[in-house]
């Protein structure tokens, strides 16, 4: 039975819709104007065009930045997921002195302002040979993303009863076999989710990448550098692409995290 819409529920719906519109409006503007034939984002709309998207994809610097972002995103996702799993498993399975301190160290980077994080990374990495390379960006992004990866996987591990892994040992599995055959399959959805979320975190991050990347620009850094030069309609096109990729990654991650909950 459907109850008639009360005034208060209509009001709260309108309120929520306005809120969502307010948050999404800037992104919508970018998307809309990226398909505008006008050179400058002005009203009225100059008609539909994919000219700026074409122009962006033909810009070798943008393509290079996209490639860098892909490499950094993939590298970060891989490393952060592995480290995140290790930290989560360590926390789940073992008790040792200093565990609390270690877990805080893993959890804290996202809480540090990125400008400070970026400067700290810069100060540290400039003394190492990897400074200014994509590797440096990967390492820095891994510091941030592994904390998200750890949280996602740790959450799943709380659902793994302590008996399951011990049962595997009891039935003849070595420690490594038990992790490979029991713990990893059990955590698979959350591991995949952690991978995509880490990739999204890396793909969106610009401050730290700008500090430590040197001449290697990721896509967000390229956008910033273009903005500093001039207003370029290509920026809207790149923005749209970045938005699409990030949204896709986050949606996949969310979807996977949810399937994990269903298959306990």
């Amino acid at each position: 039975m459907k109850s008639p819409l009360s005034l208060s529920s209509v009001m709260s719906f309108i309120y929520l819709a306005c809120l969502a519109l307010f948050i999404a409006a800037p992104m919508l503007v970018i998307v809309v104007f990226s398909f505008d034939a006008n050179r400058f984002p002005t009203l009225p709309w100059g008609g539909f065009s994919i000219e700026w998207h074409k122009a962006a994809l033909n810009d070798p610097m943008i393509i290079a930045a996209l490639r860098n972002s892909a490499i950094v995103g993939f590298g970060t996702a891989t490393l952060a997921t592995i480290l995140g799993f290790c930290a989560a498993y360590l926390d789940y399975r073992y008790h040792f002195f200093g565990k609390r301190a270690m877990m805080i160290a893993v959890a804290i980077p996202p809480a540090v302002p990125v400008a400070i994080l970026g400067m700290a990374m810069l100060a540290f990495l400039s003394r190492t040979p990897i400074f200014g390379s994509p590797t440096a960006i990967i390492v820095s992004h891994t510091v941030i993303a592994s904390s998200f990866a750890m949280a996602l996987i740790r959450l799943r591990l709380t659902e793994l009863g302590p008996d399951l892994e011990q049962a595997a040992w009891n039935l003849g599995a070595s420690r490594a076999q038990a992790i490979r055959l029991i713990v990893l399959p059990f955590c698979r959805p959350s591991i995949m989710a952690a991978f995509f979320l880490s990739a999204a975190v890396s793909f969106d991050e610009f401050m730290v990448a700008w500090f430590v990347g040197g001449v290697h620009e990721t896509l967000p850094v390229r956008i910033l550098n273009m903005l500093q030069g001039q207003v370029n309609p290509k920026i809207n096109a790149i923005g749209t692409v970045v938005l699409a990729i990030s949204l896709t990654l986050v949606l996949i991650a969310q979807r996977l995290a949810r399937t994990g909950k269903e298959t306990r």
């Binding site: 049962a167 040992w169 009891n170 039935l171 003849g172 599995a173 076999q177 029991i182 306990r264």
Partner: protein, 369 residues
């Protein structure tokens, strides 16, 4: 090998920070024996089982299985499969893959592991269930999968940690029978942890009663029930009345103990090496089915004790009535009788009754602690 001990625990000790779980226990289990470890929760029975499986490392003492010292043998190498209270079935594997898991770990090729897994599924009446997910099975079926998984490698010993406690009463009796049949057929050693007296009595060759990390008594079920060695065992076995007092007289065959209910006669316990001195503390135990109950006005046979009291509780299991009676001296007596006895002598809460028993059925406790 049959008469020799197969599993031996020598002075096994387990200390956790702030908790002494197992205090230097010694136990020898013969090959093919069905041993039940019993006791209240926290008595160390599960810890003992986990130490035999190698899931916990004792902080003192030595465990040998088949004559081999287990100190350096990891849980994975022991071949002491366990049936868990939680079952611990792998949720993302099919029933068949669950049962085949220990075989795969031993390096059996996938194909023959699957064949052998299905043989065991058949043996436990799970034909055709192999491809199903564990979540699709009923509680009793999951229980059978867990048992099949533990037996599939044909171990010489199997450990069971309260395996039936999650099942309802009807299924429990059913699986109890199944376990008894498997033990008879396989002739392997079963070590069974339970807090259920009925399971232990129905299945075990020998019962080991533990309390607070020590073994209170180990022996055949009937002996543990009829001849408890300590007050704890007498109380734990439930249907006993414990009378404490001091030794007043002793002669060639009997002792007399001065209790709050007056002097009570009991035969000398043949297993006791020495009798306590006159005047020292003593205790005697009377089985609930040994006490007869009658109206307060009726006379008891001569030469038999007579205790008066009031009914304070009643419990019914099928055709058996258990009646709890507070004696006038404040001791709780437990009396069991068949339900049809209520036809001739009905009682209810608050009824005044008299109790008596044949002195030769009183059991003198060998130890008081």
């Amino acid at each position: 090998m049959t008469s020799e001990s197969y599993v031996s625990l020598h002075d096994i000790d387990m200390r956790y920070p702030g908790h002494h779980a197992v205090k230097g226990i010694n136990l020898d289990i013969k090959a093919g024996e069905f041993v039940a470890l019993m006791g209240p929760s926290g008595c160390g029975k599960s810890t003992t089982l986990r130490m035999i499986a190698g899931l916990e490392t004792p902080t003192g003492g030595k465990i040998t299985i088949g004559g081999r010292d287990m100190a350096e043998v990891s849980a994975a190498e022991r071949d002491t499969p366990m049936v868990w209270q939680s079952l611990a079935l792998f949720p993302f594997l099919s029933v068949e893959d669950n049962v085949a898991f220990p075989l795969r770990m031993k390096g059996v090729p996938p194909k023959s592991a699957r064949v052998r897994a299905n043989e065991w599924l058949e043996r436990l009446n799970l034909n055709g269930m192999g491809k199903r997910a564990v979540a699709q099975l009923s509680g009793g079926q999951r229980q059978r999968v867990a048992i099949a998984r533990a037996l599939v490698t044909q171990p010489s010993i199997i450990l069971l940690d309260e395996p039936l406690s999650a099942l309802d009463a009807h299924l429990r009796v059913h699986l109890q029978t199944e376990l008894a049949r498997l033990h008879r057929e396989l002739k392997i050693t079963f070590i069974y942890v339970t807090h259920s007296q009925s399971e232990a009595f129905a299945l075990a060759d020998r019962i080991v009663v533990m309390s607070d990390g020590v073994i209170e008594q180990a022996g055949p079920p009937r002996e543990v029930y009829r001849a408890p060695q300590t007050p704890f065992v007498a109380e734990f076995m439930g249907m006993n009345t414990l009378l404490r007092g001091s030794l007043r007289e002793k002669d060639a065959t009997d002792v007399v103990i001065q209790t709050p209910e007056g002097p009570m006669r009991a035969p000398i316990n043949g297993a006791m090496q020495t009798l306590p001195d006159l005047g020292s503390d003593a205790g005697l135990v009377i089985g609930a089915d040994r006490i007869s109950m009658m109206p307060e006005t009726a006379a008891s046979p001569a030469d038999q004790p007579r205790v008066l009291g009031e009914v304070v509780g009643m419990d019914f299991v099928g055709s058996t009535q258990t009646i709890f009676i507070a004696s006038d001296a404040g001791i709780e007596f437990r009396v069991q009788r068949l339900e049809h006895a209520a036809e001739t002598f009905p009682v209810h809460l608050g009824s005044r009754v008299a109790m008596t028993w044949t002195p030769k059925h009183a059991w003198l406790l060998p130890r008081l602690s």
